[in-house]
Symmetry: C2
Subunit: 265 residues, 2 copies
């Protein structure tokens, strides 16, 4: 068997999220059926291991998965084969042959997410599936203050959706920054951390933009860390604005080389 | 009755073109039903007059239509009312109250179209509905030479799809230019003329890119003008790359103020 690490972009609009589910079109489900088809449907079937899930409607600019293939294709051939067989809302960006020690999920050391908020009075028809929407005035400095408060190791219990199966809600955010793209009329917010809980990014963006718009106190993040109450950060921003931008593996980033301790996953 | 001129953007992906048709979701059909709903379904019904049709999958950055409304709303109120009632793949950009002499179709003096060609080896999943695709090498100068040959008043019989109902195939192209957006990895081609025939832009883009890629002689446009044969320009580029960018009305552009002569429409 030969192990392949694949970097994948997808438009999440028409997928019911990443994880395979019966009778639903999911990213993992499509990858599973197409890769097994390429390998002539072996028994047992080839399993696809993603770096983690994304929700329905969430996009990926650089999701990563691995699988073991029975035939020895070079990287370029596998790249072309996958892009030829996969549907048009997916694109393989990179294929690497890796050792059997590499695991797309267990070896993750960090993830980078981007959130795009369209700022028009009404939604731009070309962006309706690719951005969230915020039509109220806000102070970019206050948004950044909220993000600065989120940086570091914290218990993110107030920022996780019910339904999370994580053992611990402690995560570390390395970077969090906000900027405005005037030409696109968008607020962009990017997070880099060692791992994110269920809906955490969408909830953090909701809190940050509410702080920026003045409907929450400037340092409300610090209060939310203390009270550990899921019901206080009510706004979960739309899935359509969220992009999994990059998955880091052990050693990829010398500044943040190690993965989340096992007890926290 | 009060006449409104409306500038409209739409994502053409989920529309069966502009023109109203039974049992199909069309731009005109949606406008017709929503505007009549706003006016409490008067009899006779309010008619929507577009500047012209766009095909299934073709987008608009600045389509124009007019209609007569029984109630006297100011421009800002009509703008908000329309954007609140129309679906998310449409956005009203501008509302103007105009005299009853204005006609969105009969007074057109010119149209500007944009074509976007994605140049990646495989289609970008985020652009699949918003660009055409060209993965072969080409010479931008040759593309521009082809466009230069298209400029002026010509008989475009070789560049019209069968099914056109135009009385004459003579049209004038004022401007035609091609450029590459390296950041987006796209070839962009823009046309401005006094009117365009059925599928004319998509066929012209096909001929221009074939000339650019060397599969047609550099001045093949001149031969196509002469032979007046619809079967020679075979490639009609995908609807997904085409945008109606701007509609000009008599007087809007001092350089090209007049409309297409009636005998040519």
């Amino acid at each position: 068997m030969f192990r392949y690490k694949v970097t994948l972009a997808y438009d999440g609009t028409l997928f019911s999220g990443f994880q395979r589910q019966p009778h639903k079109r999911t990213v993992e489900g499509v990858l599973f059926s197409k890769i097994n088809l390429m390998a002539k449907n072996p028994k047992p079937a080839i399993i696809v291991y993603g770096s983690g899930r994304t929700d329905a409607g969430v996009h990926a600019l650089g999701q990563v998965f691995h699988f073991d293939f029975p035939f020895d294709l070079d990287e370029r051939s596998m790249y072309k084969a996958l892009n030829s067989i996969l549907p048009l809302d997916m694109e393989v960006l990179k294929v690497e042959k890796v050792s059997e020690k590499f695991h797309a999920r267990y070896d993750v050391s960090g993830k980078r997410y981007l959130y795009r908020l369209d700022l028009g009075e009404f939604k731009d028809p070309f962006k309706r599936n690719y951005t969230g929407h915020w039509k109220y005035p806000f102070d970019l400095k206050k948004v950044q203050t909220a993000l600065d408060d989120l940086i570091g190791e914290h218990d993110f219990t107030s920022f996780v959706a019910s339904g999370s199966e994580a053992k611990s809600n402690i995560r570390t955010i390395y970077q969090a920054k906000a900027w405005v793209d005037k030409a696109k009329n968008e607020l962009l917010i990017e997070f880099y951390g060692n791992g994110f809980l269920y809906n955490q990014v969408r909830i953090m963006v909701g809190v940050a933009i509410e702080i920026g718009s003045g409907t929450r106190p400037v340092h409300d993040v610090l209060r939310l860390f203390k009270i550990k109450d899921r019901t206080q950060a009510r706004r979960t921003m739309a899935a359509s604005g969220l992009y999994l931008k990059h998955v880091y593996y052990e050693g990829d980033d010398p500044k943040h080389p190690t993965k989340l301790p096992k007890r926290q996953r």
